[in-house]
């Protein structure tokens, strides 16, 4: 998985591409979000548009990031989950846990 981090206003947007899976994508995701939280950036938007799929380890890490942000008084929200990723969020009922947006501007404004 590849990531780039952008700052839009007060929000850190992580553009993810590839898959969030055990032993690779999940670790990258954890490290990137941890870096932001450690740097005091507590408003994190994960852009999932180019993520093709996740496995249970990747989904678990998504939840872990959500909880770690919350513990620090921050939030992790999701942008544009695609076909399979959307299916997985629905299946796991995480669709109701995360705030999920299809427009970046709207997502950024919501923090």
């Amino acid at each position: 998985m590849k990531t780039t981090v952008r700052t839009v206003g007060q929000v850190s947007v992580i553009d993810l591409s590839g898959k969030i899976t055990i032993g690779e994508g999940d670790i990258v995701l954890r490290d990137k979000v941890q870096e932001l939280l450690d740097g005091g950036h507590k408003k994190v938007l994960l852009n999932l548009e180019s993520v093709s799929y996740m496995d249970s380890a990747g989904i678990g890490e998504l939840v872990a990031c959500f909880k770690r942000a919350r513990e620090k008084g921050g939030t992790v929200k999701l942008l544009r989950p695609s076909g399979k990723v959307e299916d997985l969020l629905q299946l796991t009922k995480l669709w109701e846990v995360f705030e999920i947006f299809s427009e970046e501007a709207q997502a950024v404004a919501s923090f």
Partner: protein, 147 residues
């Protein structure tokens, strides 16, 4: 086709790739082939992590069989088995924020049937079957009446 490998988590990707490709050559469309790949991936993660407890010397076996109307994947480990009915529902309100416990949910969602077999001394075997919906071969299907 049979795949045999030690309990190295990096090999999960290889088992996934082989299963997804086999589903593709067996005639599943791209999305269903990915579903097969993800289901096998989850079963292999469980075999490595829970069954074999990450011991690289313990082996995982994946046996893939393409049939005319289905694909079967058997994932075996060398562990002590478990009771699948005793696992927690990861979608229940109390569990939805757990950071693990979703593998079986994904497996069940992505294939049509899942069987768990445990035999003393032979470890756990998880049997996944994905049915193939025939495309454009309606003739073949005329025997099974449709509503």
């Amino acid at each position: 086709m049979k795949l045999v490998f030690g309990s190295d988590v990096r090999l999960v990707d290889v088992a996934h790739a082989a299963s997804e490709k086999l589903a593709g050559v067996a005639g599943f469309d791209e999305d269903d082939a990915l579903n097969v790949g993800i289901a096998v991936r989850e079963a292999v993660i469980n075999a490595i992590a829970h069954g074999n407890k990450m011991d690289p010397k313990r082996r995982v076996e994946v046996v893939l069989k393409a049939r005319p109307r289905s694909l079967e994947a058997r994932v075996r480990d060398q562990g002590t088995g478990f009771d699948p009915s005793a696992t927690k529902d990861p979608t229940a309100a109390a569990n939805v924020l757990n950071t693990s416990g979703r593998g079986l949910l994904l497996i069940r969602a992505f294939v049509d049937t899942v069987d768990f077999k445990f035999r003393e001394g032979r470890g756990m075997e998880v049997v996944l079957v994905k049915k193939r919906t025939p495309r454009g071969t309606l003739k073949d299907d005329s025997s099974s009446a449709r509503p």
